[in-house]
Amino acid sequence: MAKIELSNISHSYNPNDLNPTYALNPFSMTWENGKRYAILGPSGCGKTTMLNIVSGLVKPSKGNVLFDDNDVTNLITEERNIAQVFQFPVIYSTMTVFDNLAFPLRCRNFSEKKIEERVKSVSDTLRLSTFLNMPARKLTADQKQLISLGRGLVREDVAAVLMDEPLTVIDPDLKFRLRRNLKEINEEYKTTLVYVTHDQNEAMTFADNIIVMDQGEIVQVGLPKDLFERPKTTFVGYFIGSPAMNLFETQLHSDNSVKINDTTIKTNTNLSKLKNNNIKLGIRSEFVKVAKDESENLLEVNIQKIEDFGNFKLLTAKMGQLTIKSKINREIEISNNTIKLHFPAEKCCVYQNNKLI
């Protein structure tokens, strides 16, 4: 267990070319001991590269990796005491399940007694106890992935367990249980867990802290609530939440209000220092409500469609060219074709050049 610090890390897979392309742009970050982190972002945004840099499979072009303030940048993987689980199950197919789980401990010369004790404990947690003497290759895909996971968890002193979309091959029911298991393991052993995913629900339910990445950049690091309510860029707003955040091209109107078409929308943001170009207003569909007795921040819209999702209704409406989505309570009956929607000022986010003001 360790605090992991990434200091001015950047990485290119073609550093010697004239114009190297960077898979990771320079960044610094600290992963506190014992916390759960999720790295979220679309495919190819540099998530896996970041993990591989931490585990030592990739040496960063620039920057340093520190475990508990010790520089490990030049240490090879085996010397870092880190566990990594890949997207698809990797098992030692010539060994039994027990030998698979025991392998990391055997490589590190643990006593057989200790090995047996640890393997038993981990296999109980992952419900693999009944398969211990079976050849690992005979198990199903999700059981194999549990073995991969188990090999990561079997070492108590591991600096961190890095997981690269580990639950892709596992069916939803087991996925849910495993996520909860991982949380329990984290709480019990205080193991730092880093979880790469492109599934926001997975990230939101699993992590204390979420790191959102896009095109080799870290766009935002924060609590799930912050990411949801105050996305730092329009990308985060778009990427997180279902449906994506409502975003509108707007004009500045006053120090704290903007104009959408001819409607003035007040915000809680000080806009006095902004230039009037490329301004966007963003609001989550969860916060857009059907107006009752509010007097301002109202938009008159035409309803396009209403979809019933069971636990809520998704209302899609148009105002001129703009499309607005709103999640509304399913008890609300809407009879008119034209209604007024209310944008609460405290939930409105203003972006200039796609960055939150």
Partner: protein, 282 residues
């Protein structure tokens, strides 16, 4: 329709079996004949058509001083050269193949694929091209007409086969397997022999089989690079021929020279039929 298909299928299988097995049966029959039974008229079945004799087989183990040809020594020479060269080729070839599969090499315009092709190109050349260089090379280092010299030459000939098969095999073993082993605490060498190698046994078997076959059947280099001190089986078998062709001892020696390959084939066939080698062979 189905019956016709079945009929054709079995007809083909029977014809093919006859085609393959008949020469062997003929050789078995001939090996028990004497001069009379071979040269007077066509004979097939022992005791009915001709009186079987073990003379053809006896000649092979008798020393030349007693009128035999003694293929026992060449037989063991062949076994020694083939097995040693195959083993070394497999070890070196597997290591080379692993490196070619996992690391990126750059030297000018040369890349991994070029190096792999370089290995295979050794087998594309007609062997005669290599005969003079090999001859000069062995005579320079004083290994002409020796078992060790033959082993060296055969390693050169067999290693490309091992590299070729194993590169292809390692390319199919996911890189994550090595990476996982490193993460689990192996150093790169341990990752190779503890994790990657056990997963590559099917590939090793196929590569080994090919090396043994190609080593065992080589006549050309064994003929050119040896004279009197050392002889390998193929050369000795051919040397049996004289003004009167001894069909009986030729047949017997042919049979015992294919015997090891048949044994190898039976052993490997069990793996092949289990599907354990799927992917190891293209």
């Amino acid at each position: 329709m189905e019956k016709l298909y079945k009929f054709l299928k079995y007809t083909f299988i029977i014809l093919w079996t006859v085609f393959i097995v008949a020469p062997f049966l003929w050789a078995v029959s001939t090996s028990f004949k004497d001069f009379q039974s071979v040269n007077s008229k066509v004979t097939y079945i022992p005791w009915l058509d001709f009186e079987p004799t073990l003379e053809g087989w006896r000649v092979l183990v008798k020393s030349p001083a007693r009128g035999g040809v003694d293929i026992v020594e060449p037989y063991f020479n062949s076994i020694f050269v083939t097995c040693t060269a195959s083993l070394i080729s497999i070890i070196l070839g597997t290591l080379a193949a692993y490196a070619l599969s996992r690391f990126t090499f750059k030297a000018g315009f040369v890349r991994n694929n070029d190096i792999t092709f370089f290995f295979i190109s050794q087998r594309i050349m007609p062997p005669i091209v290599l005969s003079i260089p090999f001859f000069i090379f062995l005579s320079t280092i004083g290994l002409l007409d020796s078992l060790l010299g033959l082993v060296v030459v055969y390693i050169v000939l067999l290693m490309p086969i091992a590299v070729w098969i194993m590169v292809d095999f390692f390319n199919r073993v996911p890189k994550e397997l090595d990476e996982t082993a490193l993460i689990d605490g192996c150093n790169p060498y341990q990752a190779f022999y503890k994790v990657v190698l056990p997963n590559s046994i099917p590939g090793l078997i196929v590569a080994g089989m090919f090396c043994i076959i190609f080593g065992w059947i080589d006549f050309f280099f064994a003929f050119i690079l040896t004279f009197t001190e050392v002889q390998l089986l193929p050369v000795k078998v051919v040397a049996l021929n004289s003004s009167i062709t001894p069909w009986w001892s030729l047949s017997a020696s042919a049979l015992i020279s294919v015997a090891p390959l048949i044994i190898v084939a039976f052993v490997v066939e069990r793996y092949l039929s289990k599907g354990n080698l799927s992917g190891a062979l293209k």
